[in-house]
Amino acid sequence: MSAHADIHVHEDDHGHHHKETFMTKYIFSQDHKMIAKQYLITGTIMGIIGVLMSMMMRIQIAWPEEPNVLFEALLGSWAPDGVMDADIYLALVTIHGTIMVFFVLTAGLSGTFSNLLIPLQIGARDMASGFLNMVSFWLFFLSSVIMLVSLFVEAGPAAAGWTIYPPLSAIPLAQGGSGLGMTLWLVSMALFIAQSLLGSLNYIVTVINLRTKGMSMTRLPLTIWTFFITAVIGVVSFPVLLSAALLLIMDRSFGTSFFLSDIFIQGEVLHYQGGSPVLFEHLFWFLGHPEVYIVILPAMGLVSEIMASSSRKPIFGYRAMIASILAIAFLSTIVWGHHMFISGMNPFLGSVFTFTTLLIAIPSAVKAFNWITTLWKGNLQMNPAMLFSIAFVSTFITGGLTGIILGDSALDINVHDTYFVVAHFHLVMGISALYGMFAGIYHWYPKMFGRMMNKNLGYIHFWVTAVCAYGVFFPMHFIGMAGLPRRYYTNSNFPLFDDLANVNVVITIFALIGGVVQIIYLYNFFSSIFYGKKSVQNPWKSTTLEWTTPVENIHGNWPGEIPHVHRWAYDYSKPGHDADFVPQNVPLKDGEEELQH
């Protein structure tokens, strides 16, 4: 019951092969557009939980001594009389990180838009394997459920930080959360990795094999390039995390000593000998660092596409953009050691990783300058998606620049694991990727639901979020440089940090406003599904193939033949044409030259 095959096309003009039941249409769907929506909705739910957690953490940091009804309501027995327990603070840190990085910004972002856009933009009826695609979503769903179930474990959910460094994560004696909570975390992540691998393989095969006639690799929109390369990075690095997780499970449950050695805890010597936690750090960051590019590359692709379309201008330096994506992908696999400068590994290795890390700034700078040049002399259509794209470039620059400090081993010594790091990665991959995701949602909402989102709500959502994001993370650099370590339940045990408390209150207020304003977005998103204005076929006047499909989503995407492609994806405002955009499926005019970009 594969939906992708071209053979179906001529037999069936409407794309409906057979009657669909509720189950096959909405639940166990093999249609890539429905799977994309399933990823998006699941990711959104996980996102709400992740953001709520961060708001609780911010309240705790700003007003550590004060009981809070919110804690009492949400945390129950973990916040007796409304005072948060220290263990649960670490659990919030851990689960917030895990959910946001993996469940929202990996599956929610890449899962949604790779699924939605790959077949539509390359001109395919569906993914290479609709069945694998369905399995991959349901593994993701299962892994989300297990992660959420782990929140209700009596001894607490995993609380060793999203990096789950052993021995803390391996020994239940070290921490309540390292018991059943950590087991569930590991099971959930193993399933997550499986879904990610299935998804990635599907994306790679689809992009390579199912491009429509004329869609050469150098005519692909940059979105597809980033999804494709992201999938490749995922396939290369996720298995390493899986092996780390498996070895950790062995250490925890079967008495092996891969990561543990010479441990004396709570009055007893444990039997472990010969392992090393540093080995785990290497394995973890071999995925962990590419992971941030798995998060940010799809956002970059979405932003490139939206910027070109909304500027009514070709993306500047198409080939340079592809080259920088490839360079970033390659470098991303050889920089993981910059998370480990002070882990006890040989300082010489630190030098090597400093070198490779700072190199990554070069392709990143090229991308940033190309985006800025894309705006130059454009005709900018300030839709909410465009605003989020511009803000993406802004936070990517601000957050990326501080990476030059953290990637420099000598400077990292003093700011490692402080709030400086928190500010850096939240701006450069958290907020930026989130902006990319919002931009994508506002832009492709009409494609997903056939209706438009309310733009005025979108504007308010954007401006409040943009101000709050800087309000939260800009001052945070300063308390980090003042030496404040992250993951502290309260700072009141250090009078040295008393003068940072008021900064923390400012940050928390911005965080709360920024968090609450997302309700506007949620309202806009869900109410527009039913009450939004009906969309036209190509509301943003874009050139790419997804806008040649009918507004109503159909199985197989195009009712008739799949369009052929005659030009690259960025013929906006091309001289010699009346309209300011020429879709990819429009043949070249007599004597018209195709730019070889």
Partner: protein
Amino acid sequence: MTALLTIIVLVFILVAIWQMVKIFDLAQAKNQNDETAGVATDKDNTINGYLMMGFLAFIYIITIVCFVKYGDLPLMSNSASAHGPTIDNLMIITMVVIFTVQTITQFLLHYFAFKYKGEKGKKALFFADNNKLEAVWTIIPVIVLAGLIIYGLNSWINIMGVDESDDPLIVELYAQQFNWKARYGGADNTLGLANVRLIDIDRANILGLDESDPNAQDDVITTELHLPVGRPVLFKMRSQDVLHSAYMPHFRAQMNCVPGMITQFGFTPTVTTVDMRETQQMQDKVLRINKIRVEKSKKLVAKGEDALERYEFDYLLLCNKICGKSHYNMQMKIVVETQEEYNAWMKEQKKFKNSLLKNN
């Protein structure tokens, strides 16, 4: 309570925003057709174009406000170790580079967003590629980064290179959930062998020293870290249970403590605790902190609790790697003093062989 009030206020703001949007929508509804519903109009472009300039101003203002208000918080020019100024200088140079790039690129981004805001009938410039431009903004970062890499790696190698020939004081930093111990090698400046398997709580051999090792006999175990000023120190770090990180921000020093292996970090303290307290910068900081503590104490006393103690500056060793429940309170006081004061303090400490309890 404050938090609850904040949340309530936020909800009200939200409702207000909601109502405003409804009004906007109604106002716009009449001149909209199906083609343009939900798509930015020229008016939207203009408003958001101006807001982009406003946002640029906001970025600049928040930068300036942060530097003016919080600029004295960062540890930037008051390091207390010999290698500290190297790191501080590198930091300042990097910051200058970063803020130059930040100011220029943010300006270009937001100014273009304002300047080229869309108008009906206008056509954008078809400008797809320019190899010269690409080369320029590849080569400039290459040069700048090459400079930073060379400077950074030079500093890194100097800091991490341990020179055993200048007779450093050997000190073990021993981490456990949730406190620190320091161990000195005694007169021979040599640490005795140790392993957590040798820990014998009943005999008070809490760090697992090898009781038969002659080097261990005169070792001294303390709960405060005392360092003589001007003498290089080489820290040997151990952990007995989970990962910890020995973070000494004032000395620009940090290294993880890893169970099963010994890690090391060396530096030379250059400013005694007493001298540091007398620097203008530190006095300002302490004054500021004590003002805050007095305010807090007033509230506490009103609630019938004890007032906070007056704060006096001390160097600190903090745990900076998540290590469990009381991670947030894992600290040790560091005292940097003259050689004489250090010798006097050391004399008062018990040697390992004298600190053991007899087995019954």
